[in-house]
């Protein structure tokens, strides 16, 4: 039995339900959706944890890739350095789960950790390197 945390990116046109159903059914995996952000007409993202046989997990990852889902190992932890950040908001255009948003009132960057799916898309977008992976 092993555990793996993965970030899945679903293209706009893929329906997620049958895919997750098959993961459980056919690969005999314990499957946990930790966070998900699926909006119509937009790319969807999901942070999942898979528990099961290594061979089963590999099979499931292969199946996912074949259906057009991008699979990526999840990062450890994302942090934003408040001293570095200039509150431009560039990263908020990248973060699909809206874990990174500008506060309406203060205009400052707000990082809502609970919404972060550790996809790492924001990492190389910050002009002052205020977004980092915490190890």
């Amino acid at each position: 039995m092993i555990k793996r945390k993965l970030v899945l990116s679903f293209p706009e046109n893929i329906v997620t339900k049958p895919i997750t159903y098959r993961l459980v059914k056919e690969f005999n995996l314990e499957f946990n959706i930790l966070r998900a952000e699926i909006t119509p007409n937009m790319e969807g993202k999901m942070l999942i944890e898979l528990k099961g046989d290594k061979a089963q997990i590999d099979g499931a990852v292969k199946y996912l890739s074949q259906t057009g889902v991008t699979v990526q190992e999840a990062a450890k932890d994302i942090i934003t350095d408040k001293n570095q950040c200039v509150d431009c908001g560039l990263c908020t255009s990248i973060c699909i789960t809206q874990a990174l948003v500008l506060d309406d009132k203060s205009h400052k960057l707000k990082f809502n950790k609970d919404k972060c799916i550790l996809c790492e898309l924001c990492l190389d977008c910050c002009p002052v390197s205020a977004i980092k992976v915490h190890i």
Binding site: E12, T39, N41, M42, E43, V86, D87, C88, G89, L90, C91, T92, S93, I94, C95, I96, V101, L102, S106, H107, K108, L121, D124, C125, P127, V128, S129
Partner: protein, 389 residues
């Protein structure tokens, strides 16, 4: 009856001046009307804080003994231009380090100088009778050299395009990381706070105008490169894309890294966040009409940066209210937006400038000459000598 700069400065001196920032003025006019606002408000502070690549600093290092005529200069391994007199050089913000590449550049040198950090100066020369030394390596700070002044040939764009990417892969541009298939939209203007959008026809902002430049009191020295006032405009005077620009100058030794920051756009290069604040005198009612402009009244075009040509196609027009809401629609698809320039910082600068004026630390100026309202915008074509004769 209008107000003169001299009258406003008298009020600053006596402490009775009324100053609002460019956000506050919007509601003020909505509440009190144009006439009353023109009477009651003296100054509106505008500001912006965004990456402005066309920036750099002139430095004079002082003469070593024996002296040197520097022909090549490096500051922390970043080349500076030395084709000037013996110990003068210009360090450009976008210049990259010869040892660290895109991780460190001229902008970082400028930021390090402002924060007082020691910077390694290396220079070579060919040696002359009057300048016998051929090389030098030493450390400097802003306090150990004669002059250090920022001189930026193009800053403070009057509006700018928004960017997106229609292609199938992520691209890295000066407008930031653009995700595939219209994955995001980035934009760069401070909108309703932006200086030249609040004085669209340059009635009060001109050459010689005193400004807030990265924490110091600097000046507009000229109109900026690529100044393009002829851009199509709305009835409120604001252009629907990049238009006017200014060249600015100020004492680097008085600047603060709160308002100037080096930055790196992955895959593109080094740039520099510059904070600029410009006070606009409320000279008459017409000025109030311009100053009341709000994000919803300022439009820009979303440009597809995946097209590798000078002329890139537009994906539609949007206003800054829509851009700032976090989402816009392109071809029926909802797309997330993000700003490259910081509204938070711009607002902060507009408030700092407001306080400086109220406290009698910043006086307004009449410009010496206006910014041109007509200027050709020329592209570089590849021509032979014969074609030009």
């Amino acid at each position: 009856m209008g107000k003169t700069i001299e009258e406003i400065n008298e009020k600053i001196k006596s402490g009775s001046v009324v100053v609002l920032n460019a956000e506050e003025i919007i509601e003020y006019v909505a509440e009190k009307g144009v006439k009353r606002t023109a009477k009651e408000v003296d100054v509106v502070t505008t500001a912006t804080f965004g990456p402005m690549c066309s920036s750099g600093a002139f430095l004079n290092f002082g003469h070593p003994d024996p002296p040197i005529k520097m022909t090549k200069v490096w500051l922390n391994d970043v080349p500076a231009y030395a084709g000037l007199a013996a110990v003068d050089a210009y360090i450009g913000a976008a210049e990259l380090s010869e040892t660290e590449g895109m991780k460190y550049g001229g902008a970082h040198v400028i930021e390090d100088l402002i924060s007082g950090k020691p910077v390694k100066l290396r220079a070579i020369g060919y040696g002359t009778d009057c300048y016998p030394r051929k090389e030098i390596e030493t450390y400097i700070t802003k306090d150990t050299i004669n002059q250090a002044f920022l001189f930026n040939p193009r800053n403070c764009y009057q509006n700018y395009y928004a960017a997106t990417n229609s292609s199938g892969k992520t691209i890295y541009t000066y407008m930031g990381k653009l995700l595939p298939n219209f994955g995001n939209v980035t934009y760069s203007s401070a909108g309703q706070l932006s200086p030249l959008l609040n004085d669209p026809y340059y009635r009060t902002i001109g050459m010689g105008t005193r400004i807030f430049l990265a924490g110091s009191q600097g000046y507009i020295s000229w109109y900026g490169t690529q100044h393009n006032p002829g851009r199509e405009r709305l009835a409120n005077g604001t252009p629907c894309g990049s238009a006017g620009t200014i060249a600015v100058i100020g004492n680097l030794k008085e600047m603060s890294t709160e308002y100037l920051r080096a930055c790196i756009f992955q895959g593109y290069g080094v740039s520099i966040f510059i904070g600029i604040g410009i006070p606009i005198p409320v000279i008459d009612e017409e000025m109030v009409e311009f100053l009341r402009v709000k994000d919803e009244d300022i439009y820009t075009e979303i440009i597809d940066y995946s097209v590798k040509r000078r002329n890139r196609p537009s994906c539609g027009k949007v206003n800054y209210g829509q851009l700032r809401s976090g989402k816009v629609t392109i071809n029926g698809k909802s797309v997330q937006t993000g700003s490259i320039s910081s509204y938070f910082k711009a607002l902060e600068i507009s408030n700092v400038l407001k306080d400086e004026i109220k406290n009698g630390k910043f006086y307004l100026t009449n410009f010496v000459a206006p910014l041109p309202l007509e200027e050709p915008y020329i592209n570089l074509d590849i021509l032979s000598r014969e074609e030009l004769q």
